[in-house]
Symmetry: D2
Subunit: 405 residues, 4 copies
């Protein structure tokens, strides 16, 4: 009998997928990863898969690995898709597939199934990882192939003893992990409608946040946060801690129109409290420690990396080469950043580093001054020479001048 | 007698420069521009220059021109130096020099003087513009050449009947215009010290801002804001209005370590309330109206433009070519963005446009769906093919997989 | 009856497509464009379409329009896909579709047909243009849908009175126009096999080229060649002339492994004699006339443009914005370049321009020297300051020094 | 007594510098590096320095180190300044300074002297390396400071027993090493004048090259050539061999107008026969082995690296990070390229690799075809969707269509 390994979440879609795959002749091995999604009851998820027909149900605690191998690169590269989205869902997909492929190999399964629809990004991310790790594995995408209305899906579920959530279904489509929470669909589909209160769950509305700020000192080593107020924490615990603390202050809400990989625009609402704090602190420490040319070039690499992560290219040789660039820049990103969390904002208010390139003796305007002001005149002459010669020859701007009346 | 045109601000440095230039044998024409710097008493400034020895003192109201020719390109290009600084001071320098060169030509002056020191960016910006517009003009930079301590400067001022501010001098070095306010030096020179309350003047501390938000609708035409809540306003008035309103909500504070053009890092504190509101709204509207490839490429151009503006290259052929790119993208950036101003943050909460590329029929997950989900499978195959073949040949990632234990 | 407009070449594939489309219920309007493909007998092509069943057969002389609207941008932007391929086939596709869509509108046709296979780039270029210009038009791609072997195609042709070429079919798949000739498939599919003599038709082998060079002076106006040895020529005639002359000298052969848009690598052999001469001359003149920052940034835009043209994005807003950048740089690209054509190489040996930025008084090492050598010392201090401070703080390279033994 | 370490070439300028530095109170340690400059008689150079007054004269054979540490990165990154110049002189400067600084430290010298003028690039490269490796070392630049005419220099030489070359001085200013030869000044200063025959010494004129080609197979490992026709060679010997062979065929001549770092344009004539062969072969092998995204992104990194090397930033953290990117891409660049050397051209005519990504089964048009042609239709829909929606909304190109007449 053919075996298939299913990326299982415990929700209706992937639960219905189990009898559907059985109908197609598969024995189903359900695999659920704990990547820090809030409120995930992993034992219940494990039991449910068996209940609806899986021959085996596996649960993997991947929180530490997810933080260390997938979130850490994002921190080092200040990765934000289109400058705003911290890439929450895009990060877990390659890790999930790694685990599923390994299980498929161990158990001689011929196929992998995922629960993505046909118009989102995640189908591409899941399948890109499968193709890269083992292109001989068959892929099933039951939700993409259902062609069911909601009612038909519920009927099918009832017919196959799949538990159906009671009451009105959530209007939203949610994905969440350690690094944040993505929310789309429902009323959000009108860009001119403000996101309603129930679209947010990890963050308080600013109207209800504390009236006194929290301050904390975040220690970084080689670009990665390693301690809060001097207390060392594994990365995944540090993130969990900051999600709670920053969420209380309403930090990390994002509401944006976004370009999906499959060619359409969508309206997305994200929450990423810890990400907002950590990335603001990391950028601030880089301002202190990165040499100017690095500081000015790294954003180009960062943008490319962010787009590639979003666009399903985590497992690719260009991703690896870009990360080699990033890693080379982070050896000096060490130090402490003092963050203020208050009224929806995470602000760096002070920073220090043994690798600081800020040199008070050079920067000051006082007389105790080691900067050679004479050098400036020579610098200016040569710095401006090419554009000056261009103007002398071509007289483009001189003619545009508007004298005062 | 040699004539010189002096960029005059009314402050101690450029006032002392007048007798100093007279000592060097110049007749001094003082020119002060009103580019929207807060609290500028232009008639008093005009009078003061004459009082300390200028043969002529000219005041020019350049607010509208500054907004239309120098701020508008920054809005269209989302220009932020190092991702944060809205380029306040860098914008006024080319305009000031344009006016001074035109006056020098009218009055047959041989030289231009500016009041910058030898370790800042502005000396380069002033002189770059002079070189471009008339490389035959001599340049005097008295403050760079003084080599005076503060006490020596005050003594010189007293000896030459230059009014000296009473009381302790401000610890800060300030430059301001319509688009914001830059503050450096003093206690700010220690990056580990929080900016003190008196470092800020345009923005309220979040602790003291109103407990109810303001909402406003900002209309854009071709990338430029043209109306607030439907009421058309010239750009400079729209900015002035937003500076007041957003400043009240504590919006637009920036505290950053920055890479100066002349090669050192400095710690800068900026306030730019209107800029924060306008640029957030503009970016949000671009998310709705720019095609994906444009949305993903424009940030590279924006970063290059921002660096060039900071680095004294406003008048240059590359700047012009980059702006031709930007202008070509803005014809479709029309529409209305609803902004929420609250507790230090300007947030886009809703947006609409006749040029909107968001298409609910394509984006929705409902059954009324015009997106061809079948197409996705073919897309994924070809999208992932190059990296898949690479992995098949080189087996780099497959070997890294960590099966669960 | 449904009408369809077919992009017709006169070859076997698009001829067989006519009865195939008739079988699908279409009345076929065949349209052939003369874009300068060598040896094209347009009247014979026109007659053949009618003979095999087209209700109408239209031939359009598009040589001048092709040169002025599609080749000229490529010259201005030095566009070479992957640094080598002058984009021959990619250029004609949008123009062909423009003409076909216009005819479809005039004649109330509902569909457009093109003759591309399912694994090349051209299918994407054709269909991208159709989608952009009228997404309501149906698209037929008979060759992609045939699923025939060569023998089956010939049988079908014979059954439907389509003339079949006598003798052994060419082993190659060819596309050609004014700007060059592309050749793939056949024995070329082994990258370790040298391209055989019969793979080339526009260029002589270097072994058989003349033993004396030809010299010519190419005049450019705003980046476009307008005259040879002072004699003005329309662009398409200038290109035709150079194809002959440079082809005789064996200039313009390219043999490369290339990344196709649809995700695979292919081995391609190109000939582009005129392109080789014009692009070398254009680049040389840019070296003389472009300001340094423009010269260093334009290649990034050029690479993006080249990739977009190859990847079927000629009709797109990013293409338009990038061309706005390019056009802004070309106003100063005026002058004359002396080219030497000899033994497979087109070499710029001399150049002059009224917009020349080369200034002998600045560049010379003689005593009649207007360059301020003192300025260099100041320039060097500030130019090197960031990396110097970085090294002082972090001591990365000092420790790597290898003293001599 | 103060000690100074002088970068010594044996020529008139650096020989005259020795008494000049002695006059300034220095004891002079002359250091000459053999970096493969043709015709360098190192023992004679060593003796001459002592003869004209150096207290010590050191000669270092640095050919292997120069090739392995400075040329190899250039090969891996296809580094060509402004797309043409293989960076000959820019490569030796950091190595020379490394050696000089190490000797200064060993011998307790306080200063370093170099022989560059005030308007070239090399002064910046020398001093950037000194600043980075030991900013406390004083720098003397005697040639920049001489302010002598040629006659005055010769008089000074005669007065100080410095041997003066007999006869007319060369009209050119030359620098050479393993990687090539740079020639400027003299008659070359007129861009409209063709470079005369005596400007070239490493390469035969094409008019005099052999009438039969040479073929050779170049083996690469991790991006570096390691063998010719299967015979392993150290990199510096391989380069020397190819300089001779390719020079005989007239390969590697470059004549270009170039943007110097110090802001002016100059006309340069270069010869780099081995570089032309190696870089063409390396690029060709990359076409076969690099994944598409890597192939399309690496040129951006390459251009940045090339500019940085030219602009004196070899020793800098951005250079290191960019090289980390490059190195990450080269592990798969293994294989053999067959090169044809003939009539001034080095052409890749065949190539093979165990890491080849070219897959005949995917690329062929025959029926034995593993490519899924059905996938293309889905791919095209999603690939073109953003620009299609843009056109549907904004109707920019549809209105431009020109129907035939």
């Amino acid at each position: 009998m053919k075996k298939i390994v299913l990326a299982y979440s415990g929700g209706l879609d992937t639960s219905v997928a189990i009898p559907w795959l059985i109908d197609k002749g598969y024995a189903v091995i359900a695999v659920a990863l704990d990547v820090g999604q809030p409120d995930a009851d992993m034992p219940a998820i494990q039991a449910k898969a068996k209940q609806v027909g899986a021959i085996e149900s596996i649960v993997i605690d991947a929180k530490a690995e997810f933080a260390d191998r997938f979130v850490a690169p994002v921190i080092k590269s200040n990765a934000l898709y289109e400058g705003e989205y911290p890439l929450v869902s895009a990060l877990s997909r390659p890790l999930i597939i790694e685990k599923l492929v390994a299980i498929a190999h161990e158990q001689d399964a011929q196929a992998i199934a995922h629960g993505s629809t046909g118009k989102g990004n995640d189908q591409v991310r899941f399948e890109a990882a499968i193709h890269a790790l083992d292109p001989n594995l068959l892929i099933e995408a039951p939700i993409r192939d259902f062609h069911w209305s909601r009612e038909e899906e519920i009927d099918y579920a009832k017919d196959h003893n799949v538990p159906v959530p009671i009451g009105k279904a959530s209007p939203y489509s949610i994905d969440a992990n350690l690094w944040g929470r993505a929310n789309e669909a429902g009323v959000l589909e009108d860009p001119w409608t403000q996101a309603p209160a129930d679209a947010w769950t990890m963050t308080a509305p600013v109207e209800e946040t504390p009236d006194t700020p929290d301050f904390l000192e975040l220690t970084f080593e080689h670009g990665i946060p390693t301690a809060i107020d001097g207390k060392p924490l594994p990365l995944f615990e540090l993130i969990e801690h900051l999600n709670t603390l920053a969420g209380k202050h309403g930090i990390g809400r994002i509401d944006k129109i976004e370009n999906r990989l499959i060619g359409i625009k969508s309206r997305e609402v994200y929450e990423a409290p810890a990400a907002a704090v950590i990335m603001a602190a990391h950028k601030d420490l880089e301002n202190l420690t990165l040499e100017r040319d690095v500081a000015h070039y790294k954003p180009l690499i960062e943008q490319q990396l962010s787009t590639m992560i979003y666009e399903a290219k985590w497992i690719s040789p260009l991703f690896d080469a870009l990360m080699a660039f990033i890693d080379a820049t982070q050896s000096v990103v060490n130090g402490v950043v003092k963050m203020k969390l208050f009224k929806g904002q995470a602000t760096a208010v002070a920073r220090q580093s043994e690798n600081s390139l800020y040199n008070k003796d050079l920067a000051t305007y006082t007389s105790a001054d080691s900067f050679d002001q004479e050098a400036a005149a020579g610098f200016i002459k040569l710095w401006t020479l090419p554009a000056t010669v261009f103007e002398q020859v071509n007289h483009i701007h001189a003619e545009e001048m508007n004298p005062h009346d």
